[in-house]
Amino acid sequence: MSTTVSQLDQVKSGPWNGGRSPFAIEYGKVMMWFFLVSDAFTFSAFLVYYGAQRFSQITWPNPDDVFQSIPGVADAGYPLVFVGIMTFILIMSSVTMVLAVEAGHRNAKKEVVGWMIATIVGGLMFLGCQALEWTHLNHEGYWWGSIPAHYEGIDKLGAQQFANLFFTITGFHGFQVTTGVIINIIILCMTLSNVFEKRGTYLMVEKVGLYWHFVDLVWVFVFTFFYLV
């Protein structure tokens, strides 16, 4: 009986008793998650406002009419095809990112480098497609504060809101893709110069991966609410 430690003197070893991460996630990764939560709020606010505008306007441009060209191939008659290609590129680059993370878990530097390059190429291809799409719409007359002349009367209101919101929301998404590509390039350089090899962990690739998947996540919603609905 005398050897029993009293309740108060026992060393507490629960997850919330300090000395270790209660979520079993490294600090930087938790912070990346919380950043992404705040980022998700930003994009939610944009899309909710878009929804509110669309509900309130009497008319709204039909996405099948607005987005029906494949830049460089056909001017009209192919709704959704070009954005389909963009969606595929982004999903694909998300997969190559997970594969880079998976290779990082095995400390396989060569594979991490290969998949990171594939991810960067995917990101750049997506940005190229978006640049083509923006240029095309701009030539048709859409821009912040301007719409093509064929909209008349009451149709102008909805079309103007559509143009502003389209460029703002895909612009913010494109900005996130751009920063993602830059960060991916930095991580690629760090991998190449053996920073993670020396550190013994490729956790940084995982954190950047989270940021990159978020780009894909936002695009899933943008795609639905701008192009499909």
Binding site: G84, I91, L157
Partner: protein, 120 residues
């Protein structure tokens, strides 16, 4: 400092075995299949077919979108395999977003009815 860090990294490695490549490709094909289904609805059933754009079609799109979002967040972002406490603390805030959506779409519908009298 470095000691406590390595402790955390170790705990991390123990808790998160890397996702097998098979799972990654499986999730990729789910995402691709859902996207193809969306295109099928949009192009074959609605654009060239009998269905009209409306609440039913839009509801289907939203369900498919949320399904895709689930696969991306749960598997690609690995959230499904984190501790329950972390999943809850990440997602709880989105209850407010759902409320916000209901709130603003209601407002939008109200304006739709009442602005009609002004402009229409």
């Amino acid at each position: 400092m470095s000691d406590s860090n390595s402790h955390i990294e170790h705990a991390h490695d123990a808790d998160h075995a890397a996702m097998p490549k098979r799972t990654i490709w499986k999730v990729f094909f789910y995402l691709l299949a859902i996207t193809c289904l969306e295109f099928f609805i949009a192009l074959v059933l609605v654009y060239n077919g009998p269905l009209e754009k409306g609440p039913l079609v839009n509801f289907t799109y939203v369900v498919l979108t949320l399904l895709k979002a689930y696969y991306i967040v749960a598997y690609f972002m690995h959230l499904k395999f984190e501790k329950m406490g972390f999943i809850v603390s990440t997602l709880i805030g989105f209850v407010l977003i759902v409320y916000f959506i209901i709130l603003l779409l209601t407002e939008g519908s109200y304006l739709h009815i009442h602005l009609n009298h002004v402009f229409g």
